[in-house]
Symmetry: C2
Subunit: 240 residues, 2 copies
DNA sequence: CGCGCACTTGACAGAGGTCAATCTCCGTGG
DNA sequence: CCACGGAGATTGACCTCTGTCAAGTGCGCG
């Protein structure tokens, strides 16, 4: 559905990505600002890193196609998935303060991003509309991470997996795909890392949901049969 | 140690708070900008809310004296402590995007804050130095929350409590107090909510640390005897 | 064709949540 | 001044949940 496009400098107004990528995040009157912000495309092959924790921030990236995992790493080697960026998501905000990325982003499939030069981003901050948009984006990021923190801190196993499925469902709906039937690009281990469980527990919980008739799982193909039930399950916080 | 000061409009350059509050967050050349940002003081009595989730954002607050807990609430009534703001910390950033606070902030003791009118904050964003500072602050917030998320997702009990003590220790040191002997203003339940454990487990873990000779606990008075041991304990992630 | 990776499923043990009793402070009121 | 009551904290007993280890299946890719 996305016509081939030379990997040269591009403009957001030409972008055909469903949902409008950044455009959804910026008010109409600031759209013209995107004209001035010239950027390049970049392909990232499955399993390859878009950037790594500690790298100097030279670009913000907007996911154009494909999907990623954003992981945080500890000195001792363990890591945790913090997010599964999808088309339209902006990456690299966590590095805007320190000048170095605070997370490592890895492609879950062959993907494509728009690379916005950081100087350009900073230059556009002279415009109030752009400032407002960036403020909104960073605020949203804080809220998003906080909400996930809450999930990890006070939710039971079922709630965690249910929440994950609902987040995915919402993400698919927002991008114009079916919210009840989709393909997951991440492994059970990555899901487990994201919601704070082991891959075995994730697998068992998915099976449990299936036995209850809430979903249908075939490998990574998910069909949600009872969205309401999942929503209910995602609320209580049994702890433990 | 802090001289009495009328609760009228004030200037940051007059501020005598140790560590310099906002001043620590802004580069010297932008200090003059703080002159223009007139603000008022506000007292918050123990147990009272500085602001509540959903309230329209009219101020950013800088903690001047005392301590708070920042809690996130779920529709079902459960809540979780997301942070323990202390003097010098900035509150309300999570609401800058949506225009409504995303958390509820409650005083753990009689406290005092500086209330920065949000219009003034936005006005000052015209200055590049101020922008940079705000970017840094929001970026730090994202990183801070992400790091805590990682703790909640992949750390064992000992690591969680050890990490909490170390955070507190660092906060005390940064404010010029002893990093090894201090008074905690929060209950065991609030600690537990913060690190994702029950109050009983927090209590048991503290006792355990004491038996190992790492700390000395008397009610809320903490003496850290083996900082290095705590640092070691905060690393491994036994999960569980 | 078969090796390997992702996933599923089972058995088991340990970590930590739950329930409950007790203790220590404090503040309050008789 | 002391008795009482309540909130916070500690400790113990119990039991569930889920992480760990291990075996087995299905699928894809070389």
């Amino acid at each position: 559905v996305i016509p081939f496009r030379a990997r040269t400098q591009s403009r957001c107004t030409d972008c055909r990505v469903d949902g409008g990528c950044l455009r959804a995040n910026f008010p109409p009157q600031s759209l013209s600002l995107l004209h001035d912000l010239e950027f390049t495309r970049r392909r990232v092959m499955q399993g390859h890193a878009l950037f790594m924790e500690g790298d100097p921030v030279r670009f913000l990236y907007a996911v154009r196609q494909g999907s990623f995992k954003s992981v945080l790493m500890l000195p001792d080697g363990r890591d945790q998935v913090a997010r599964f960026p999808m088309p339209g998501d902006l990456l690299g905000l966590d590095g805007m303060g320190r000048g170095a990325y605070a997370s490592t982003v890895i492609a879950l499939e062959d993907s494509e991003v728009c690379a916005l030069p950081i100087q350009g981003v900073h230059r556009q901050l002279n415009h109030a509309a752009w400032r407002e948009a960036m403020c909104r984006l960073m605020g949203q990021e804080i809220v998003r991470v906080s909400r996930h923190m809450l999930l990890l801190g006070s939710a039971g196993t079922d709630a965690r997996v249910a929440m994950f499925l609902l987040e995915l469902s919402d993400a698919m709906r927002a991008r114009g795909y079916s919210p009840t039937e989709f393909h997951m690009r991440m492994t059970r281990a990555e899901i487990g890392s994201y919601v704070g469980l082991t891959l075995e527990t994730v697998s068992r919980t998915l099976s449990s949901f299936q036995q209850r008739g809430w979903i249908c799982v075939h490998k990574r193909h998910i069909t949600i049969l009872a969205l309401a039930a999942l929503r209910t399950a995602s609320e209580p916080g049994h702890h433990g």
